[in-house]
Symmetry: C2
C-alpha cells in the first residue's frame, strides 16, 4: 500500500500529549476564572455566513479568510470571536440578560504567511461585557480584575496593565484642531517600537512642528498614577477630554480598589489600539520582564457591538488573549514547562495475564482511594513493562508476580528513588496515604 | 446603516447560555472521566490536508466534506476524529508511548441535509487505545468500563452495552461457506429495525433458505451471558470462530470483573457495526428505556489504525459518542434540563453608584469565602435592579441603599422565598455559611 506522509498543514500548532497537558492547564485556569466571575460560556460555530463575517467590509481580513468551497460560496471560517459575538447577541437579543457577560475560548482562522510564532489556526480567549443601551464604566475596571486574576493563577511573572482612554486622546487632539487622527494614533501606537526620534519626525510630517511638540509633551509626561491624572486635569481642553479623563480616573481608582496593586497599573497615554472600534478605555497587558513579546491581552470599550446586525445600541467592553501565540512565546522563553511534570500516576504491572484479576482488585482499591492508577495489560518481559512505567512518567510501579499473587502482596517500586518494597495487599491504602 | 439579518448557517446547533451550561456539564463529565482513567487529550487541527482525509478513498464521505477554497484546494474540515488520530499517531509515532491512550472531544463537519437532529457541525467524543504491533484484549473491557463510568456520572438512566465479536461472526459464516459477508452483515445490522420476517427474506435472497435458517437460529439464541457463550462453544466451526468466542468471553468476564453489572451487558450477535474497519470486538451502547434513539456510543477493535500513513502495525480499540446529537435527543426526550437549574449565585445591588466601594468590600468578602458573587453596577431604579437579579436566576440579592451603607448593614433578599432581612456587614459570612 502506498504510504502518504502524515503531516499537518504548515503553520498550525499541534502539541504532543505532555505539552497538551501544559496548554490545557493554562486554558482551563483562564476558563475557570472567567466562569467564577459570572461570565457565561458561549460556543458559536466555527463557520459563519460570509455576509456576517464581512458585514463591516472585508479589507485586509478578507484576504486572510478561509472560505468554504461550497457551491454557493457563502460561508467561511471565523477569523475572530468578536464578529460571531455581535451576531450571537443580535440574534438572541430577546433571550439574553444585560449586561451580558460572556467568554468564549475557541479557535479562529487566518491565512497568515508561514512564519515562526504565527499560526493559521489559533485559540483566542475572549471576555466581553455587553450592555443594552448603556453600560456603566465600572465594568471596565471589573474586566481588568478578572484578567489580572486569571494571569495571577497561571504562575507566570506578574502582569502590568497599560491603560488609556480614547476620548481623552481625541479630546486632546481636537483641542489642537486636529481633525483626522487616524495617522497620528497609528504613529503613537508604534512609539515604543520606532523610538522617540522617528515618532517626532512622523508627527511633524502630519501636523507640523508645533503641534508635534505639544503632542509629545503630552505623551511624555513623566508623572504616574493619580499624580498624572491630576496634572492632566490642569489642561482644560474640552468636554470630550474632561469626560475621558473622568472615565480613566474612575477605571484606575476602581482597579486599585479591586486589589490590583498600583505597581501593576500604568496609565499610558501612548496606548491607542489602532482600530476605530474603541471609543473609551483601552488596555494592553504586559508580562513583567517580558515586555518585548508585546501585549498578551488587549482590548477596550466600544460604543456599539453590532450596528450591522441590530438596531439595538449595544455598548461593550472586552479583552482578548491570543492563547496559541502566548503559549508559543512562553515555551520559547522557557517560562512554562515544555512537558508536564512527573505526575502522581501509579501503574500496575501484572507479570502474567493470570494476575490480571488481582491487578483489577488493586486498581479498584486505588481508584476508590482517589488515586490516579492504571494497569499495563500488555504481555512481555519485566524489562519492557518497567520501561513503560518510566516512559509514561509514573511515580510508582506496582509489580504483581507469582510470589506477590500467592502471598496477597504487592511490590512497590518508587520510580523517583529506584528503591522498592513489598507490602501486603491490605496495606496499600495506608502506603499511599503516607507516601 | 443597512441591517444584515443575524443568523447562523442552517443545520448548526447553537445554544443559549443556560443551555450551554447543561451541555458543558455533560461534556466536562465525559472529559474528566476519560482523563481520570489515564487517557491523554490531543487537540488536532480542524483542517487537514485532503490527501490525509481522503487517503482511504473518498466515497460517500467525500461528498459531504467542507473543502477550503484556497487556491491549491488541498485542505478540508475534518469529518471525524479517527482519520486525524491515524495521522497524529503516524506523524508523532516516535514521541508516543504505547499503548497510546488518547481522547479527543471536538467538532467535526459533514454536509448533512437540513433535518431535525442532523447537524453540519457536531461534537464527537472519541476514546481510543492504540497498540504498537499488538494490544491485549483486556483493553476492550477497560474501554467499556471508562464509557460506563462516564455515562454513570451523567445522571441519565443506566446504559446497556451490546457486545459482539466480528471474528465469531465471520468464523460462523465461513463455516457455512459464505465468502462475501458484506450484504449479510448489513442485513443483520438492520434486524431490529426491519423485523425478523424481512431479515429472513433478505437473507434468503442472499444465501438461500437453508443457510438463512441456520443464521437466524444462531442469531436468535435466547440464552444470555455465560450460558449463551457456553452454548456457542458447542458449535465447533473453525479456528476463527473459536478465537472470536474466546475473545468475547474474555471481554465479557473482564467487564463483569470491572463492576459493570451483568444486567448492563448484553451479548448481542446481531451487532455488526457495518464497516469493514472492525475486526474483533464491536460495541453499541443504549440508554435503558430509550433504546429507540439508537446507540449513543459505538465502536470496536480494528486491526490497523493507520496503514495509509505508516508501515507500523497499529491495532486499536475505540468508542465514539456523537455528543451534539445525543444532547439534542436528551433535550427532546426531556431527560436533561433545558436550562441550568437555579444557581447559588449572589448578586450585589448598590442602589446608587456612591455605594460601589461598599459593594466591592462585600464582593471581596464573599469571594474570599468561595461564594459565587457579582455586582450589578448599572444605574436605574430598584425595580430594574431586582428584575435583573430575578432574570439571571440568582438565589440572593444583596441590597445596599442609604440606610445599609450608613449603618454598615446589608439587606438580603432570598429570591426563592421572597422574604428579606437586614444584617450587619460583619455577619455576612456567617449568614451564608448557615443558609
Amino acid at each position: 500500500m502506498e504510504i502518504i506522509k502524515p503531516t499537518t498543514i504548515a503553520g498550525i500548532m499541534e502539541l504532543l500529549p505532555e505539552e497538551q497537558v501544559v496548554f490545557d492547564q493554562i486554558k482551563n485556569t483562564i476558563e475557570n476564572t472567567f466562569a467564577e466571575f459570572g461570565f457565561a460560556n458561549i460556543d458559536t460555530p466555527l463557520i459563519e455566513k460570509n455576509e456576517i463575517l464581512f458585514a463591516k467590509g472585508g479589507g485586509e481580513t478578507q484576504k486572510q479568510i478561509f472560505e468554504i468551497a461550497s457551491e454557493s460560496k457563502d460561508m467561511s471560517l471565523r477569523f475572530d470571536l468578536t464578529v460571531p459575538l455581535a451576531r450571537y447577541v443580535s440574534e438572541h437579543f430577546s433571550n439574553l440578560n444585560f449586561p451580558f457577560k460572556r467568554y468564549q475560548i475557541g479557535k479562529v482562522y487566518r491565512g497568515e504567511r508561514n512564519q515562526k510564532g504565527r499560526y493559521k489556526e489559533f485559540y483566542q480567549a475572549d471576555i466581553d461585557i455587553i450592555g443594552n443601551n448603556d453600560l456603566s464604566i465600572y465594568n471596565d475596571a471589573m474586566l481588568a480584575k478578572v484578567i489580572f486574576e486569571a494571569f495571577s493563577r497561571l504562575n507566570l511573572p506578574e502582569v502590568t496593565f497599560h491603560i488609556n482612554n480614547r476620548k481623552l486622546l481625541n479630546g486632546f487632539f481636537e483641542s489642537l484642531e486636529i481633525v483626522d487622527t487616524t495617522e497620528i494614533l497609528r504613529t503613537i501606537d508604534k512609539k515604543d517600537k520606532i523610538g522617540l526620534e522617528k515618532t517626532k519626525s512622523y508627527l511633524e510630517e502630519i501636523v507640523g512642528e508645533e503641534k508635534s511638540t505639544q503632542i509629545l509633551e503630552f505623551l511624555e509626561n513623566k508623572l504616574e498614577g493619580l499624580e498624572l491624572l491630576e496634572d492632566l486635569e490642569k489642561f482644560e481642553a474640552n468636554e470630550k477630554y474632561k469626560l475621558g479623563l473622568s472615565e480613566i480616573k474612575t477605571v484606575y481608582q476602581y482597579m486599585l480598589y479591586l486589589d490590583i496593586p498600583k505597581e501593576n497599573i500604568k496609565i499610558d497615554l501612548s496606548i491607542t489600539r489602532g482600530l476605530d472600534y474603541y471609543t473609551s478605555t483601552v488596555y494592553e497587558t504586559f508580562i513583567n520582564g517580558y515586555e518585548s513579546i508585546g501585549s498578551v491581552c488587549s482590548g477596550g470599550r466600544y460604543e456599539n457591538l453590532a450596528s450591522n446586525f441590530s438596531k439595538q445600541n449595544l455598548p461593550g467592553v472586552g479583552m482578548s488573549i491570543g492563547l496559541t501565540r502566548l503559549f508559543y512565546q512562553l515555551q520559547e522563553l522557557g517560562i512554562v514547562d515544555k512537558k508536564a511534570k512527573t505526575t502522581e500516576k501509579i501503574i500496575i504491572l501484572p507479570m502474567d495475564e493470570k494476575y490480571n484479576f488481582y491487578a483489577i482488585d488493586l486498581l479498584k482499591k486505588l481508584k476508590a482511594a482517589g488515586k490516579n492508577a492504571d494497569i499495563y495489560f500488555e504481555s512481555g518481559k519485566f524489562k519492557k513493562k518497567i520501561a513503560y512505567a518510566d516512559k509514561i512518567n509514573a511515580k510508582y510501579a506496582l509489580i504483581i508476580g507469582e510470589e506477590e499473587a500467592n502471598n496477597k502482596e504487592i511490590t512497590i517500586k518508587d520510580l523517583s528513588k529506584s528503591d522498592q518494597e513489598t507490602i501486603k495487599f491490605d496495606q496499600v491504602e495506608d502506603y499511599f496515604t503516607n507516601n
